[in-house]
């Protein structure tokens, strides 16, 4: 039995153009002309069909402008399709940009009633859930203050908390988890997980691919208004990660590459030697670099570079500063790069590898392999912040016995 059904849905937006070849020089006339002139058409969705079963959670991923938000707007009835039909079986609530219905002059309590009713709750229902909403949002002491006095964190927490108490049959989620601090985000995720387990059908639209994999069994990949892939969220996310990468090499111009030796392979392994692409922050990582040298290279240098999805250099490691000198003999060989704890923040990274001579001039390499591997980092031992540090926790307790022995007892607690 389906809860949601898109049947050949298309959505056209009109873009009116005021500047046209035969446009009148007069502003008013031009404005009037634009009213009857045929406007430019833009298809945000093209013949999209899919179904969501009861109790299922479906992720929708894709680059910006793929039509994900249009799907959400159509589902939540904010706008209507141009053609096609959408069937919704049951009550549906959307958790989009929480807090947009707040009024700054009104108190937290008044805003709970206001926002709750905007989301379709009855007053009686809100009164019943008020305590639970306030508790979840952690704003109890500020309940009767105007929300304009709230910190942005309180604002966001209250917004999510109201929406999280909706109890719809079908829940739409859109990047909502990108709000608040990570501790609160984790709380929100748990809440959504609870809803999912209690049988709520969920449609989750997000750029957080790790969250999509965790939360959804099935996923759709959209591109330019069409569904290009559908299947298990694990497969679809993987497919997206590989097609999302721009594999055309960046500007090679001005780079001198001799190819006296070539990098023939680059693979990522976890602690158990299993090839993997997804890691958590704080996990160990092994990079295996295979090369083939056509001639002897004295004092060669290997480099591993991590780039962000937008091709920003995040970190560069080189044997020039952190390894022993290497003389490369002709033939095949392997270089291994090992790291005990990944310090990268959650996100997607591309790995480059290079070979060069020690102290080679800028832009002169023996080989440079662009985006040879892809690496996805999920939140792991990191909770919040700008970078990760390898760390341990130690709990030191001074017992009576240790006082007597004048030597503290140490119990090691590793998080």
């Amino acid at each position: 039995m389906f809860d949601l059904k898109f049947d050949g849905v298309s959505k056209k937006y009109k873009i009116r153009e005021e500047d046209h070849a035969d446009a009148s020089p007069h502003k008013v006339v031009r404005k009037l002309q634009s009213l009857w002139r045929r406007s430019k058409e833009f298809w945000a969705l093209k013949d999209v069909s899919f179904e969501v079963e009861r109790g299922e959670s479906l992720g929708i991923i894709g680059p910006n402008g793929a039509g994900k938000s249009t799907v959400l707007k159509l589902l939540s009835n904010i706008t209507s399709p141009t053609t096609g039909e959408i069937k919704i079986n049951g009550s549906l609530s959307a958790l989009i940009e929480v807090g947009s219905g707040f009024h700054p002059e009104l108190t937290g309590r008044e805003n709970i009633y206001l926002n709750g009713s905007i989301l379709g709750m009855r007053r009686r229902e809100i009164a019943k859930k008020l305590e639970s909403i306030v508790e979840f949002a952690e704003i109890k002491p500020f309940l009767d203050l105007p929300v304009k006095r709230y910190s942005s964190g309180m604002y966001v927490r209250l917004g999510f908390s109201i929406a999280a108490h909706l109890d719809p049959d079908i829940l739409l989620l859109d990047e909502v988890l990108a709000v608040g601090d990570l501790a609160f985000q984790a709380k929100c995720l748990r809440r959504i997980e609870d809803l999912r387990r209690s049988g709520t059908t969920i449609v989750f639209i997000s750029h957080d691919l790790g969250a999509v994999q965790r939360l959804c069994k099935r996923a759709l990949l959209m591109r330019q208004g069409e569904i290009v892939a559908s299947g298990s969220s694990f497969d679809v996310v993987n497919q997206y990660q590989h097609t999302a990468a721009d594999f055309s090499p960046p500007d090679l111009h001005g780079l001198l590459i001799t190819k006296a030796a070539e990098i023939t392979g680059l693979q990522l392994f976890d602690l158990n030697g299993k090839p993997t692409e997804a890691y958590d922050t704080g996990q160990p990582l092994q990079v295996r670099l295979e090369y083939f040298a056509h001639e002897r290279i004295e004092d060669g240098v290997f480099e591993v570079l991590f780039f962000s999805g937008s091709r920003e250099l995040i970190s560069q490691f080189t044997t020039e500063v952190s390894g022993d000198p290497i003389d490369i003999e002709p033939g095949a060989g392997v270089i291994e790069f090992g790291c005990a704890e990944i310090g990268l923040l959650p996100g997607i990274y591309y790995v480059d590898a290079t070979i060069k001579h020690r102290a080679a001039p800028e832009g002169s390499h023996i080989d440079w392999q662009y985006q040879r591997a892809l690496l996805r980092i999920d939140p792991g031992r990191l909770v919040y912040g700008k970078f990760y540090m390898p760390h341990q926790w130690r709990h030191q307790r001074e017992s009576l016995a240790s006082h007597l022995a004048a030597e503290p007892a140490v119990s090691n607690v590793v998080s």
Binding site: K87, S91, D167, R197
Partner: protein, 295 residues
């Protein structure tokens, strides 16, 4: 029990019995498929939002103002003072025998209700762009809450009318009860115009600029500062097509003069108001489908 899923616990406490699911179908907008009863039932489902938003409109308006609710009285009252000075001191305006201040206030009361409603309701949608593009709820709630908030002001300002009637020793008669159906019709007309203007304002912001001018002209086309009897008889059949004529004049007649209403003009106003309400609502719901795209 300790490890019970918290969501299930909330569900169990709020839904004693599981309601049957309702299947809704979203299709491209089309006038022939517009289902008014279904839309009205949806509006009914959101009645709490209508109530909450109306109360908040009133609260927000008076929350940080020193004079508070007295503003609701001040507006018609100061207009009444000005008109009384001009039309009973400077120039003589017939007032059907009643003291001019009373005569003017009894008409300014329903007129102010209407003009405040329309002026605020017109911008009711565009001033909530954030909400309209983010959340779904029946959009007509936004303009309608402005009408209801103005109705609250109307009720507050009515107390001054009662005070003036005591001051001028004008006793009300049972006919004053006709004011109730008149206010109902007036509300219907204000909602109809509010829906029409607010939906059009989404596409053409010109409406918002034009409303103050329209209201100014409209007031002079309505017997507020002069009696209906001052209008030349040959123009009157055209003049009464303005629904506010039948409403304002009959409000004054029944409350001040204790006379029975003129059922022809009142009936005409009622007919136009309710017919327009159906048309406006249909138009509004048709526009609603793509409102979020162009707002």
């Amino acid at each position: 029990m300790a490890s019970r899923n918290p969501v299930e616990a909330i569900r169990a406490s709020t839904f004693e019995s599981v309601a049957p699911r309702r299947l809704s179908v979203i299709r491209p907008p089309s006038l022939t498929r517009l289902n008014l009863p279904a839309n009205l039932s949806k509006l009914f489902h959101y009645r709490d939002l209508l109530y909450t938003l109306t109360v908040h409109r009133i609260k927000v308006r008076y929350k940080q103002s020193a004079l508070g609710v007295s503003w609701a009285i001040l507006q018609p009252f100061s207009m009444m003072l000005i008109f009384t000075i001009i039309f009973s001191l400077f120039a003589r305006m017939p007032s059907d025998g009643a003291p001019y201040a009373l005569f003017a206030y009894a008409a300014l009361l329903p007129w102010t209700y209407f003009s405040t409603s329309l002026a605020n309701a017109t911008s009711g949608l565009v001033s909530h762009t954030q909400l309209v593009t983010k959340v779904y709820f029946p959009r007509e709630i936004l303009p309608i809450t402005y009408v209801f908030a103005a109705l609250f002001d109307f009720l507050i300002a009515s107390t001054v009318l009662a005070g003036l009637m005591i001051y001028y020793r004008v006793p009300p008669s049972w006919n004053a009860l006709y004011a109730l159906p008149i206010v109902v019709i007036l509300t219907a007309f204000a909602i109809a115009m509010g829906l029409l203007f607010s939906a059009t304002q989404v596409r053409f912001r010109d409406i918002g600029v034009a409303v103050p001018l329209i209201l100014q002209l409209w007031m002079f086309a309505t017997p507020v500062i002069y009696p209906l009897s001052a209008v030349p008889a040959r123009l009157r059949s055209l003049y009464v097509l303005n629904p506010l004529v039948g409403l304002v004049e009959n409000f004054r007649q029944t409350v001040l003069n204790g006379a029975a209403p003129d059922f022809y003009t009142l009936g005409l106003s009622a007919f136009i108001s309710f017919a327009l309400l159906i048309i406006s609502y249909t138009y509004f719901k048709h526009m609603e489908a793509t409102m979020a795209d162009i707002i």
